[in-house]
């Protein structure tokens, strides 16, 4: 024990057949920002959903240990009550509710008296949310929606904040604002686990990174190490590698000879 979030040997399957995560293990230390990167379909989103308990009856195998609790296969409400908040790729907002109502729901079940201060902190972080307080969430722009989602998650005072592709579809300027806010939130003691395709952006704020491919961790290291690694580019683009011409590849067919 002693560690914050430990995932060991987790298998997640879709439709009980397709391995999305295959014997995946990783560790997240308290108070830092962790980034998970990798190509499309590598299982990044699946990993976060597995931790959040949003996949029914998954993971099939393995242990997810959070602060000494085994949280694998618990109901999402229960996992959330341990202090894990997940912001999905589509932001998971209540689109028909107003900005204020969305933020209110973030405070669900909080009994400490600091709600008001925290709300003010969120408004300080993203002043636009104060301006748009009475608007329905669906009328916000993509960036504002992401800010709202992060603000709402922050109000739950999570120990672990998980975000799925927070930069997706955002203009670079907006993405920077969002990421700066994440750094500030992390500075207040929240651990952040971040899934990102935009590796450069992610490595700028992350302390440590994992690269996921085919449901496994293929590379890990501190942000500095990963930035230096030439393989990172190759993993995304398939540039380089075995230096053969694209056309002259060996025709291949597995023949069964029995």
């Amino acid at each position: 024990m002693g560690s914050f979030l430990t995932i060991s040997n987790v298998d997640t399957l879709y439709f009980d057949r397709i391995y999305a995560l295959h014997g995946l293990s990783l560790e997240v230390k308290e108070g830092e920002i962790f980034a998970i990167m990798g190509p499309n379909g590598a299982g990044k989103t699946t990993l976060l959903k597995t931790i959040a308990g949003l996949l029914k009856d998954q993971p099939k195998k393995g242990v997810i240990d959070f602060n000494g609790h085994h949280i694998q296969r618990l109901a999402p409400e229960k996992i959330s009550s341990y202090g894990i908040v997940f912001v999905p790729e589509d932001r998971g907002l209540f689109r028909e509710l107003t900005v204020r109502e969305n933020l209110d729901l973030g405070c669900w079940g909080r009994r400490d008296g600091r709600v008001k201060e925290d709300l003010e902190y969120v408004h300080g972080l993203f002043p636009i949310l104060k301006e748009r307080e009475e608007q329905q969430a669906e009328t916000l722009s993509g960036g504002e929606q992401q800010m709202l989602a992060i603000g709402r998650a922050f109000l739950r005072k999570p120990k672990l904040l998980m975000l799925d592709e927070p930069s997706l579809g955002l203009a670079p300027m907006v993405a920077r604002v969002v990421f700066e806010a994440l750094v500030k939130i992390s500075g207040l003691g929240t651990t952040i686990l971040l899934v990102e395709q935009n590796a450069k952006l992610a490595l700028k704020i992350a302390d440590y990174g994992y690269i996921l491919e085919g449901g496994r961790i293929v590379l890990q290291g501190t942000a500095g190490e990963l930035k230096e690694n030439r393989d990172v580019q190759e993993l995304y683009l398939g540039v380089g590698g075995e230096n053969v011409s694209p056309k002259g590849w060996r025709l291949y067919k597995k023949r069964r000879s029995w």
Binding site: F15, R17, I18, P39, N40, G41, E165, S167, L168, G169, P172, E196, Q197, N198, A199, K200, L201, A202, G214, V232, Q233, Y236, L237, G238, V239, G241, P246, K247, W249, L251, Y252, K253, K254
Partner: protein, 248 residues
């Protein structure tokens, strides 16, 4: 053979495709790459009549595809596979492939009532050919839902082939497969082009394989075409690298 000009489509104010131009020549394999949400699948959906494009023109072998329903487009000779597998899960593998032959059946409902099966036999031979080609013999009578994922991918490809298309749209045909299956699938895609004389449009994330297969490549980002040309060139294009790895 396929010509798309200035194709645009909006979803609730968000431009999913804007001003896309592209052409596919006979018997060519064209790869389309791009990050998530860049509009690749949306274009397939426009091409097969599932979405109505807001503006632009699509011409297939000289005739416009605009405003045609999906089944009419299929009859023109365009078949496709889907990203998340849209098979008929409760039918047998054989029936799935036979449904692919649907447009070629001489329809006679009286014969259906009376169990006159001449047509059935005629098409069965074609289907068996595809079963052989795709190595599906062992699964012929199995319910699709019971087949492993890799096999389901093959079945879907087989179903599209059974339609005898002139243009085949493959939406991530090798995603989710194991490394070994990927090689095999890539080989089959090459074979299909040779054997069935079709043009293939292909959306794929595994860029290594996509570029090996393709004669030409197109890259999308935010609903726009950002690069096109030979696979090697597109892969090294600055803008493409930025779209994938992210910018500073």
């Amino acid at each position: 053979m396929l010509e798309i000009k200035n194709l645009s489509i909006d979803f609730g104010g968000i431009r999913a495709l804007s001003g896309v131009d592209l052409t596919v020549r006979e018997n060519e394999i064209l790869s389309i790459i791009g990050p998530n949400g860049s509009g690749k699948t949306t274009m397939f959906n426009c091409l097969t009549g599932i979405y109505r494009p807001g503006s632009g023109e699509m011409r297939f072998r000289g005739e416009s595809l605009l405003g045609l329903s999906p089944d009419r487009i299929a009859r023109r000779g365009i078949a496709r596979t889907f990203q998340n597998l849209r098979l008929f899960m409760n039918m047998s593998v054989l029936d799935n492939l036979m449904l692919g032959r649907h447009i070629h059946f001489r329809k006679n409902i009286a014969a259906a009532f009376l169990r006159l099966r001449r047509e059935e036999l005629r098409h069965r031979e074609k289907v068996e050919e595809i079963i052989d080609f795709l190595d599906l013999q062992a699964y012929r009578k199995a319910r699709v839902a019971d087949c492993p994922y890799g096999v389901q991918k093959r079945i879907e490809m087989g179903r599209a082939l059974a339609l005898e298309p002139r243009l085949l749209l493959l939406d991530e045909p090798i995603s989710g497969l194991t490394a070994e299956e990927k090689e095999e699938a890539a080989y089959r895609i090459m074979e299909i082009r040779g054997r069935y004389k079709v043009a293939i449009m292909l959306v794929e994330h595994d860029l290594k394989i996509a570029s090996r297969l393709a004669d030409a490549m197109i890259a999308f980002s935010y609903g726009q075409k950002i690069a096109s040309g030979l696979p090697e060139d597109v892969q090294r294009n600055e803008e493409v690298i930025r779209a994938y790895v992210g910018d500073e």
